[in-house]
């Protein structure tokens, strides 16, 4: 069941204006760099992007924002992006801010066929507005619904030809749940290996969730907050 496509262009075929995309990553860590660049090249517009963050002005999803390709962002935190803030405050960009844990769980729910679940997060805040409230164990919870996407674009460390994925360190983050929740899921990987190379015990995302996979040409992996200590 070979799912390999040759490049980002082949991988992203079919993505059109007005679609909903999930894009993996936390900050600039574990984002599908090559696919994002390809989205800019394709010039698709009016996208709804579900991604924990919105990149920085000149990298990650910030590139899509600069090119005004995004109609709506669904994120938990968008603090490091001036263009984002400008478009949001001016009303050009719709923004749906969601608690990070609810965002992660809603993506997983979408992939797992769970249409809705109760969570305490956001009760008593504007996040709860219009949502059903129910008490469990004496504590109020709100009903949150599943999220899915026309396409989910994720980034992994290693992948095999059948779409099995292994992530590295904290570059895992939202990628596994988004891979589950895409109607079509595209994975870009640093290293693409033949099926049978990866230990089946160590697969993070089983290939059933991935429809297309390619090896990225180059990963900049920009660091957002380089913090170091000095050797004594």
């Amino acid at each position: 069941m070979n799912k390999v496509v040759k490049d980002p262009s082949a991988a992203l075929e079919g993505i059109q204006d007005d679609m909903t995309l999930m894009v993996g990553g936390f900050g600039l860590c574990g984002i599908p760099e090559n696919s994002i660049v390809q989205l800019v090249k394709m010039g698709v517009k009016n996208l709804t992007c579900i991604s924990n963050n919105a990149g920085v002005d000149d990298f990650g999803l910030g590139l899509l924002l600069q090119a005004k390709q995004v109609k709506k962002m669904i994120s938990s935190y968008v603090g490091e992006n001036d263009e984002f803030e400008r478009q949001m405050l001016s009303g050009e960009l719709e923004v749906d801010l969601i608690p990070q844990g609810s965002l992660a769980e809603r993506c997983r729910a979408g992939g797992a066929g769970i249409p809705a679940f109760f969570t305490p997060a956001g009760y008593g805040t504007e996040v709860a507005e219009g949502k059903e409230v129910r008490i469990f164990n004496g504590k109020p919870h709100i009903l949150e619904s599943a999220l899915t996407a026309d396409y989910a674009i994720v980034k992994a460390w290693k992948g095999d030809t059948e779409g099995n994925l292994i992530y590295k360190a904290t570059a895992r983050n939202f990628n596994p749940m988004m891979a589950m929740a895409g109607k079509i899921t595209i994975a870009e990987v640093e290293e693409l290996v033949p099926a049978g190379t990866l230990d089946p015990n160590h697969i993070h995302t089983p290939g059933i969730f991935v429809q297309r996979i390619f090896q990225g040409d180059y990963f900049e992996k920009r660091i957002e907050q380089r913090t170091v200590r000095t050797k004594q």
């Binding site: 900050g27 600039l28 803030e85 992660a104 360190a169």
Partner: protein
């Protein structure tokens, strides 16, 4: 004398108990990791998917795939583990994390917290804060007692959009340690050299003040 940020972190570190898993927010809370009391072992969870965070890396050893929730490069300790965001918040929501320390713009006397939004101005988003405050059994807020305009942030009721309701148990500021119970602040300790009068004057919320308020031992 009022504490600096490191002083606040140092005082909060005294609340740590052996064997606890702890989530530290961005800013002052991050500094708590520098002051773990001798003889106790705690494990730090960061909501982007790591347990067992170590110190910042040495220059040249940064790994872009290894960051904390503040997007800072970090290292791992022996026994660390990585996991996805859903599992990370399963730990938080499922109350497997024993202590959460985070910053705030405002805290009210019934334990409400506001720390994510200033209407018409700041639109950064709540990140994981709403999940953390809604679920943690033990929340300590690290914050300054007043804002830059000199107005108290320790309030009868929050004025900013809330992050969570009735969840904060303790507040540590540059002036005082406050406990929240039965709808009131309770003054537990004052910073070395800081007078009870100063704390009272800078606290807008109702505060129970005992006859004797000990100084923090730092």
């Amino acid at each position: 004398m009022a504490l600096d940020k490191n002083g606040i972190a140092k005082r909060i570190a005294q609340e740590l108990k052996d064997g606890w898993y702890v989530n530290l927010g961005i800013g002052i809370p991050t500094l708590v990791a520098n002051y773990i009391p001798e003889g106790i072992e705690v494990e730090f969870q960061s909501e982007n998917g790591i347990l067992g965070m170590g110190p910042f890396p040495f220059e040249g050893e940064e790994d872009p795939d290894l960051i904390n929730a503040g997007k800072q490069t970090i290292t791992v300790r022996n026994g660390a583990s990585f996991f996805d965001s859903a599992t990370s918040f399963a730990m938080i929501r499922g109350q497997h994390v024993q202590l959460t320390v985070l910053g705030a713009m405002e805290v009210s006397q019934n334990g409400d917290i506001a720390n994510w939004k200033i209407p018409g101005k700041m639109v950064k988003g709540m990140g994981g804060a709403m999940d953390l405050v809604a679920s943690a059994e033990n929340i300590i807020v690290a914050m300054m007692h007043s804002n830059k305009a000199g107005e108290s942030k320790i309030l009868k009721a929050c004025t900013l959009p809330l992050t969570g309701v009735g969840c904060v148990k303790k507040v540590v500021t540059e002036l005082a340690v406050l406990e929240i119970k039965e709808g009131k602040f309770h003054l537990l300790e004052r910073a070395p050299g800081v007078s009870v009068e100063e704390i009272i004057s800078k606290t807008e919320g109702e505060m129970v003040v005992p006859d004797f308020v000990p100084e923090m031992q730092l």
